[in-house]
């Protein structure tokens, strides 16, 4: 960016601010920030296999755990919470679950963590609504001797490091591997020939980038397969519908489409249906949500990736109990098994 790149936003501010009422926008809107996704936690963290976590036994002394997820208002988290609760029961530990009503209530999630820590817990399982913003609250927890286990969405590594926060462990899914499995599925469905498109999630979001990267990795080695379009529909069904319509118009020979989440797959399938191309384009989704089950059964959606949030809840609790009992080393990373659902 040029040294005067800040003039754009400044003009925008002036037009709004000093001008009183914004009659027109500056001719050039501020350029959207294009940059690499923020670095995330220790890629170097050593993996811990399922078998080792499965050995975690009932806690010897009473243990209090808390699980704070982004929100209950998202079908992804219900199996995660249910499995964590079941596992806590099986291991004989107390588990309190707290989640803000909306994913966007970052302030409330921050407050919930502070309050739970003050209440007195031994370990906190956290899916941060804001990977950077949550760090001060987690640091407070660590300072009070609470073990912090990161589940699913990652805490920002650089911010954590700057604040002196060390995570007790991580349990989540390998989104890149998930994307790669989806890509391989597409290759198989198309027998390695034809034009392919990708609908990405929100650009810059860690999981969106990883899924795209993984899918591209699977497609690259195929000489007769051509990646003709990569568009972002920001995880959104309606946007996916519009983007797919445009993609079909631009690439009439499109034979395969990877949608980085199932919500976007729903929109894409609708557009394909309306264009009368059902069955002609192989669509693969991600997340295995309830809404795509009938489509999967009808064969309209060829496959989707199950990330197993239930396993994240289960092994999150196991890891916390294990690290507290010192039967599991701290600072390890566990990636749950992914499954291709057809």
């Amino acid at each position: 960016m040029s040294t005067h790149g800040w003039l754009g936003p400044v003009l925008l501010g002036l037009a709004l601010g000093l001008g009183g009422c914004a009659r027109r926008l500056p001719e050039e809107p501020p350029p959207p920030p294009v940059k690499a996704p923020d670095p995330v936690v220790p890629v170097t963290a050593q993996a811990i296999p399922t078998a080792e976590l499965d050995k975690v036994a009932q806690a010897a002394k009473p243990v209090k755990l808390a699980l704070v997820v982004k929100t209950r208002n998202n079908p992804f988290f219900s199996p995660l919470i249910a499995a964590a609760e079941a596992e806590a029961k099986a291991l004989g530990v107390a588990l309190e679950v707290q989640a803000p009503p909306q994913e966007s209530d970052k302030e409330q999630q921050f407050a919930m963590v502070q309050t739970l820590v003050a209440k007195g817990i031994d370990a906190l399982l956290i899916t941060p609504a804001d990977s950077k913003g949550i760090v001060p609250a987690l640091k407070q927890a660590q300072d009070k001797g609470v073990l912090v286990i990161n589940v699913d969405n990652r805490v920002d590594g650089a911010t954590a490091q700057a604040a002196g926060l060390t995570l007790g462990g991580y349990v989540g899914a390998d989104n890149e591997q998930g994307g790669e499995r989806a890509g391989q599925e597409l290759v198989k469905l198309l027998s390695g020939t034809g034009e392919v498109g990708i609908l990405e999630g929100i650009r810059g979001a860690d999981n969106a980038e990883a899924r795209k990267r993984g899918c591209e990795k699977a497609l690259i080695g195929q000489p007769k397969l051509k990646l003709v379009a990569t568009e972002s529909a920001e995880w959104d069904t309606a946007k996916a519908y519009a983007k797919t319509q445009a993609m079909l118009a631009a690439h009439p020979k499109l034979a395969g489409l990877f949608c980085s989440n199932d919500k976007m797959a729903l929109g894409a399938l609708k557009a394909i249906d309306e264009a009368g191309l059902t069955g002609k384009i192989a669509v693969v989704g991600y997340d295995n949500i309830a809404d795509v089950q009938p489509l999967l059964k009808a064969g309209k959606l060829k496959a989707t990736i199950e990330q197993h949030p239930d396993l994240m809840g289960r092994y999150g609790v196991k890891m916390a109990v294990g690290v507290l009992a010192k039967s599991v080393p701290a600072g390890r990373e566990h990636l749950v098994t992914l499954e291709v659902m057809r």
Partner: protein, 306 residues
Amino acid sequence: MPSRRALAVLRPWLVLALVAGGFSLHPRFAQTFWTRSFLPNVAQQAASNVILAVGMTFVILTGGIDLSVGSVLALCGVTLGLSAEGGAPLAVALVVALGAGVGCGLVNGLLVTAGRVPPFVVTLGMMTAARGLTVFATDGNSVSGLPPGLFVLGQGWPLVALALAVVVAGAILQHHTRAGRYLTAIGGNEEAARLSGVPVARCKALAYALAGLTAALAGVVTCAKFQSADTGAGANAELNAIAAVVIGGTRLSGGHGSVVGSLVGALTIVVLNAGLVLVGVRDTLQGVVVGAVIVVTVMIDQRRAR
């Protein structure tokens, strides 16, 4: 028997005392809440809502409403972020962000006064427009190139001091300046105020500009706290601010209320949220309790006013 006026001033404090006192009957709350390590959390958690509520108080005092502050908060946040990312010095970026907030407020104010559009509609429009502009300017991505010098504002005593300074400034403006007295007079009886020579349009525009300014300040604080300018910041913030104002004893019809009351209202909401977690109420039911408290407080207020 204290006078009606004294009762009105004391009422929000009574509600806060009742909430904190009631929870204190529970041993877990009593042990945890009243400690030197927990009380600062309460102040910090309330801070951005306190800041928003001060501006909102002025608008509601005139009998208006401002639904746009949450979106304006996000817009000012990304304005700050984009300016800083583009290389503007922090001070310049801050001035631009605050200017954007005041600008949005002035647009609201002008449309309400000169345009004669109801405040609900104007600010509903601004709510959508500001959020849209925020997403447009950033392509929906959050801006993370914020100068680290900003982050001190997001936590600890600087955050609390800033919020308190806003309250003090607001209280002085309300009670010790002519403009402040005019604002209350407009809400009490706009026609009477106009006839006795109050520049109604200018005062109302001032109220919305102040709401915009506090929204911008809250935006700055939110950026500092979360170390990035997020297009989704401030979702539902306007509703929390309105809740703080009405729990704080300001009447939605205008003419009665105070900035300090809104501070107490914002604290009450935070104490409620913390208390419900501490005594172990299920998270799914917490919203029900907070909602009931808002309605009951206002109901009692209305009854007293009659």
